[in-house]
């Protein structure tokens, strides 16, 4: 039997393996990583900020001020580690569970909260929940239909290639999202055209209540790259240094014209799917406990302390500083006025056609009448 001589491109070992720098307790598994101290501390700080902000969004949802939130807890390392590999001019196509990625790109807590609370300063003008983005940071706001953004990241990468820009695009998506057509088509185009894109799969084991083994019979997510000629790398997604390392490699490959990479970051969603979910219906507590032990902040803190880059006291100070700063931001944002009703009819087209101009009149008349009738609609 003649066998095609191209097994090398399959990258099978890396796609079936699990790359790690730290073990679950924060001990280096194969020698000390050689990254600058500041970068290591930044990684941790971003994760801390994401964790605190995540908690606030949860609280604000319970207070009825945020429509819905998709908790990030436990997945901070994948978002932060991967995004840190990007340059300022690169583009990010996130999903709805990457607060840390937004922070790394430079988005502020205030901008994120404006968005979540649809205040007058909401950069996305109240369009949808759980999505974030900002042109200023080259972050395209995520579509809620999962995986939709994957071909966009590929298209933007190809556009950059066509225009001769040496930028890279990166997109995040979950394990469940790999079942969608968008994943298939995005990876396929990227493979065929060698698009400078990095696919970051956050394999958090669940798509709401559907476990990974019901999602795919593939041995790993990373190996799916084989179907597209896209190298796959499986990495411990709770090890921020490991994620950063493989992301750097992927970003450099992309930037140097060698094409796309599929990174599977193996992680776990410690919280509910969203604030509307009740995970006790479908998963056992022990599983959560087990992954809590492996969660990324604990691990990184232990490592930083053991390496002497952080003391227990400094860590406490870091947390309380950010807790205070973010709380102050929350208070400030809570006091902002809401978006004006007219936003409902704006930004459908560059210029509103006649139907929207008429509907703007209808909207304004209806608001006047509602006031007259004494009806509260919010």
């Amino acid at each position: 039997m003649e066998v095609l001589g191209r097994r090398d491109i399959l990258n099978i070992d890396r796609a079936l393996g699990l790359y790690r720098v730290l073990d679950e307790d924060g001990n280096p598994v194969a020698g000390e990583p050689s990254l600058p101290d500041k970068l290591l501390l930044d990684m941790y700080t971003y994760m801390v900020r994401a964790r605190i902000l995540d908690g606030w969004l949860l609280k604000l949802q319970r207070m009825g001020r945020v429509a819905l939130h998709a908790p990030n807890k436990g997945q901070e390392a994948a978002a932060v580690g991967a995004t840190l590999a990007l340059k300022r001019e690169d583009w990010l196509f996130p999903s709805y569970r990457e607060l840390g990625a937004l922070l790394v790109r430079g988005m502020t807590e205030e901008e994120i909260l404006d968005r979540a609370l649809t205040t007058i300063d909401d950069p996305l003008k109240g369009s949808d929940f759980a999505i974030y983005g900002h042109r200023k940071y080259n972050i395209v706001p995520a579509p809620v239909p999962v995986a939709n953004q994957i071909p966009h990241a590929v298209g933007a990468a190809l556009a950059a290639k066509i225009m001769g820009d040496k930028i890279v695009t990166m997109t995040f998506f979950g394990d469940g999202s790999t079942s969608r057509g968008d994943f298939h088509t995005g990876l396929n185009f990227a493979g065929v055209f060698k698009a400078p894109v990095v696919f970051v799969n956050q394999n958090n084991q669940w798509a709401i209540s559907v476990p990974l083994k019901r999602q795919t019979a593939s041995p790993t997510i990373a190996i799916k790259g084989v179907a597209y000629g896209v190298p796959g790398i499986r990495v411990d997604g709770n090890d921020v240094i490991a994620v950063y390392t493989v992301a750097m490699e992927a970003v450099e490959r992309a930037r140097s014209g060698e094409g796309p990479t599929l990174i599977e970051a193996v992680t776990y969603r410690l919280g509910p799917h969203t604030t509307a979910d009740d995970p006790t219906r479908y998963r056992v507590e022990e599983e959560v406990r087990e992954w809590e032990r492996k969660e990324p902040l604990r691990r990184m803190r232990r490592y930083l302390i053991s390496r002497g880059l952080l003391t227990e006291e400094e860590d406490k100070a870091l947390w309380s500083e950010w807790e205070k700063r973010i709380e102050e931001t929350v208070v400030k944002v809570l006091e902002k006025p809401p978006l004006p009703p007219e936003v409902v009819l704006e930004d459908v087209y560059e210029e509103p056609p006649w139907n929207l101009r008429e509907q703007m009149r209808e909207l304004r008349d209806s608001i006047r009448l509602l006031k007259e009738l004494g009806v509260e609609l919010e």
Binding site: A67, L68, T118, D122, K125, G126, S127, D128, F129, A130, P143, V144, P145, V146, G176, S177, S179, R180, G181, D182, A207, I208, S209, V210, R214, Q215, T216, A276, D277, R281, Y282, P338, L339, P341, V343, V344, L345, V348, N355, L356, Q359, E362, L363, D365, S366, I367, L369, L370, L373, V375, L377, E378
Partner: protein
Amino acid sequence: MPVMNMVQALNQALREEMARDPRVVVLGEDVGRRGGVFLVTEGLIDEFGEMRVIDTPLTEMGIIGVAIGMALYGLRPVAEIQFIDFVYEAFDQIVSNMAKIRYRSGGMYSVPMVLRSPCCGGIRGGMHHSQSPEAYFMHTAGLITVMPSTPYDAKGLLKASIRSNDPVIFLEPKSVYRTIKEEVPDRDYTVPLGKARLVREGSDVTIVTWGAMVYQSLEAAKLVEERHGWSVEVIDLRTLFPFDRDAIVESLEKTERLVIVHEAPKTVGPGAEIAAYIAENHIELLRGPIARVTGFDTPFPLAHEKLYMPNIARIYMALKKVMQY
């Protein structure tokens, strides 16, 4: 008779149909252990097992494509789309196959399946958890499109849909899921497809509506009655295609005025067909203009959704317009 909300009524409909007919299976994202995100399929997996209550991978195209294959083979699948806003990945399967296989096969094959899904706004769901895309389905020959507004109708219509030999798009207005409760028979009954329900009798103007807008329309009807003494008839269409033209015409023979209320955007929306149907076939019945009160021609917004959706003020304005023409 037990009092139920729509979720309970739908759950019972599924349970009864699955018990009655072993060909009925349920599939979709999170319909198993999770019982669906709104719990419409709660408990079914315990009663009927994993072979008949199937948690699927996350792909609407797959859910519908696979359900079509099941229906071709002889099952009667009830496929859940978690929110109708996510149905578009399956649009090719719906338009090219679910709707066309009977025609394509010269009547040799059929696709007796139900696509059921929560639809419409009113729960702060934002752009992709609030849509009312019924017009797309109504425009697609080969499909039946249904939207109940009450628990009683929900149960009876779902059962009729499952027994239909034609594919049915069954849309559930999620804002009504738990807010409306009524007596629902604990036994088998169906509500026929293609028949509207007269919700409120009146003589001056007819509102044709469906889903959650039935309740907004009733409020507006009360308001104009109080303020102006106008008597408003409200018709709940229930089946959107083929819609009950006789019920509309009968009402117009009495009222001679027509207001159509729906959440879907206006342009080429479902109301356009009803208005066009009347303007084409019964213009002589009309005293003046037809009015449409609809979702605006924008994506569904997160902020100010109640201003986006038809509300008492906008329906009132329309009633006034047609009454004072």
